[in-house]
C-alpha cells in the first residue's frame, strides 16, 4: 500500500533566490534531466563541436585566434600531462572552497538571527542590502589595497560573492518555517536550543542548500575573475596569460576546463540538494 498525499510537504515553503527551480511544489514525476533529455540535447552539442572543428580548418575563422577543437584538445592533454593544469585547478578550487566555507560559517548563523529576530533584521537589513548590491569585482581593488595581492584578497572576493546568496536564503528559509511546527515543538516542551537545532534548521535546509548552490557557482566565477585581474596562479590566470602569450590552444583548454568544472560542481550540488531534501518527495530540481 502506498499512500501519496496530494498536499506538498507541510509548511515548507521555499523562498526567493532559487525561485525558478525550488519553489514549485514537490511532485512525483520524472525530472527534466531524466534519461530522455540528454540524448535529445546531444546532437546539437555535437554540431557545435563539429562547427568548432571545421570552421577554422575551412578558413571561416582565423585559426590563430580560434584553433580547431582537436588542437585545443591536444593543448589540454599537454597541460594535463605536464601537471600544470592540475596545479591551477587545485589553486582555483581551493580559493573558491575557502571563500565559500567562510561564507557559510558567517551567513548561516547570521541568517538565523536575522530570520528569527525581527529587530535584528530591521537593524541590519539596510546595510546588508547595500553591501549585497555592490559588485564584488568593483571591490577587488579595495580588497587588494586592504589585504595585499596574495591569497587573502582572492579569498575575500569569493567570500563576498557567495555570502549573500547564503544569507538571503537562510533568512527566507528561517522565516518560512511553518508556525504550526514551531507551536507543536513548543507544546512538547522543546527548549530554545533544540528549537533551532531540531526544527528551524532542518526546516530551512532546502532553502539554505538552494542558496549554497548559487553561492558555490558564484564563488567559482568570482575566483576566475579575480585570477584574471590579479594573480600569478589559478585557472583564471592560465586563461588570461595564454591569451597574452597568444597560446590560444591553452587559452581555450583553460576555458573548457572551467566549463567542465562548472558542470560537474553543478550536478554534484543538484545531487546533494536532492539528497538533503529527499523527505519532500521527488522535488523538481533542474540543474540550471
Amino acid at each position: 500500500m502506498a499512500y501519496i498525499s496530494e498536499k506538498p510537504g507541510i509548511g515548507v515553503r521555499l523562498p526567493s533566490i532559487a525561485a525558478g527551480s525550488a519553489t514549485r511544489p514537490a511532485r512525483k514525476h520524472k525530472t527534466a534531466r531524466g534519461d530522455g533529455t540528454f540524448s535529445y540535447g546531444l546532437p546539437l552539442l555535437m554540431l557545435f563541436f563539429l562547427l568548432w572543428e571545421i570552421a577554422p580548418r575551412l578558413g571561416w575563422l582565423n585559426p590563430i585566434f580560434f584553433p580547431p577543437l582537436s588542437d585545443v584538445c591536444r593543448s589540454w592533454f599537454g597541460l594535463a600531462e605536464s601537471g600544470v593544469l592540475a596545479k591551477h585547478i587545485g589553486i582555483s578550487l581551493q580559493r573558491a572552497a575557502i571563500g565559500f566555507g567562510l561564507a557559510t560559517i558567517v551567513a548561516v548563523p547570521l541568517g538565523f538571527l536575522m530570520g528569527r529576530y525581527s529587530l535584528f533584521e530591521k537593524i541590519s537589513d539596510l546595510l546588508v542590502q547595500t553591501l549585497r548590491n555592490t559588485s564584488q569585482f568593483a571591490l577587488l581593488p579595495v580588497f587588494i589595497l586592504l589585504l595585499g595581492i596574495g591569497e587573502a584578497s582572492k579569498i575575500a572576493i569569493t567570500f563576498y560573492s557567495s555570502v549573500f546568496f547564503l544569507l538571503v536564503n537562510t533568512i527566507s528559509g528561517v522565516k518560512a518555517v511553518d508556525p504550526l511546527l514551531l507551536k507543536a515543538a513548543r507544546s512538547m516542551g522543546t527548549s530554545d536550543v533544540d528549537l533551532f537545532r531540531k526544527v528551524i534548521l532542518p526546516a530551512s535546509i532546502p532553502s539554505i542548500v538552494a542558496g549554497a548552490r548559487l553561492a558555490v557557482k558564484s564563488s567559482i566565477f568570482a575566483v576566475i575573475g579575480a585570477e584574471m585581474l590579479a594573480a600569478k596562479s589559478g585557472l583564471g590566470y592560465l586563461i588570461q596569460q595564454s591569451q597574452l602569450m597568444m597560446e590560444t590552444g591553452d587559452m581555450y583548454a583553460g576555458i573548457l576546463t572551467m566549463t567542465l568544472i562548472g558542470l560537474i560542481v553543478n550536478y554534484l550540488l543538484v545531487w546533494f540538494e536532492r539528497w538533503a531534501t529527499s523527505w519532500k518527495g521527488q522535488s523538481d530540481t533542474s540543474p540550471h
Binding site: A2, Y3, I4, S5, K7, P8, G9, I10, G11, V12, A26, D178, P179, L180, L181, K183, A184, A185, R186, S187, M188, G189, T190, S191, D194, K198, V199, P202, A203, I205, W279, K280, G281
Partner: protein, 278 residues
Amino acid sequence: MDRIVVSGIRKTFQLKPGQYVTVDGEETDRVTVLDGVDLNIRKGEFITLVGPSGSGKSVLLDIIGGLTQASKGIVQLDGTTITRPDPKTGYVFQQYALFPWRTALSNIEYALEVRGVPKRERTDRARYFLALFGLSGFEDRYPNQLSGGMQQRVAIARALASNPEVLLMDEPFAALDAQTREILQSELLKIWEKINTTVIFVTHSIDEAIYLADRIVVMTARPGTVKEIIDIDLPRPRDGDIRSSTEFNAHRARVWKALRDEVNKAQKDWALSPAYAN
C-alpha cells in the same frame, strides 16, 4: 479529584499597531475572546468542547496547554499553575503538525527526544505506539507518503508516546473525510479506555462531541464563556451504532438547543476572527 481547574480565564488580543476591527459597532484594536471561563475537569475524564466559531475554544486549549498566556485568571494542573507547556501534557493539532523531514517513527521519537529519554527506549516506545495505531510497517515513511488519516494517527501517537496525563486535541479529525473520521474516533476511544488519560477535545461536530465525551462543554459566542455543561451518560465501551440510538438523538437535540442561539449570535462576528487567529 480534579485534574485541571480553570478559573476566571479571560483573554484579550491586542491587534498589531494600525489594525482595527469593528466589534459590536465600535472600532477597536482589542478583541476579547474569552470572558471568564470556569471549568473543573476530573482525572481521566473525556471532555469535548463545542461552540460557535470565534468562541475561543482553541484559545482556551492553548492556555491550558501553556502555549498562550491568559490575560486574567489561572489554569491549574494537579494544583500547579500553568505558565508554559507542561511535560505532562500532549497536544494534537488539526493539521497534524508532523515534521516533514522526519519519518513516522522519528516523529514520534521527537516527543521523547526533547524530554531526554534514552535512544533505545525512545525507539521501543515509538514502535509500540505506531503498532497501537496499526501503523507497523510504516516506520520509515515520511509524512508526505502517508494519507491524512495515517498522519493524524502518527500525530496522536506522538502526543501519547510521552504518557501524558492530559491530552489536548484541537479539532483533530476536522480535516479528514467522514469515514476516516469515524474510524479514528473509535480508535481513539479504544486507546483512551486503555490508558485513561484526561482528554480535552475541541470539535465543531455535535455527533463527534456526543460520541466521545463524558461531558460536553458548550461555549457561548464571543466573548466565550461556559454556557452549559452536558453530561453524556451513554454506556462505554461505545460502538458506532450508538449514534442511531434514541438516547443519542436526545443528546443531539439538547446540545443543538444549547448551541443554536450562540451560533446565530456568532454569525455577525464572522469577519472578526481572522484578525486574531494565527
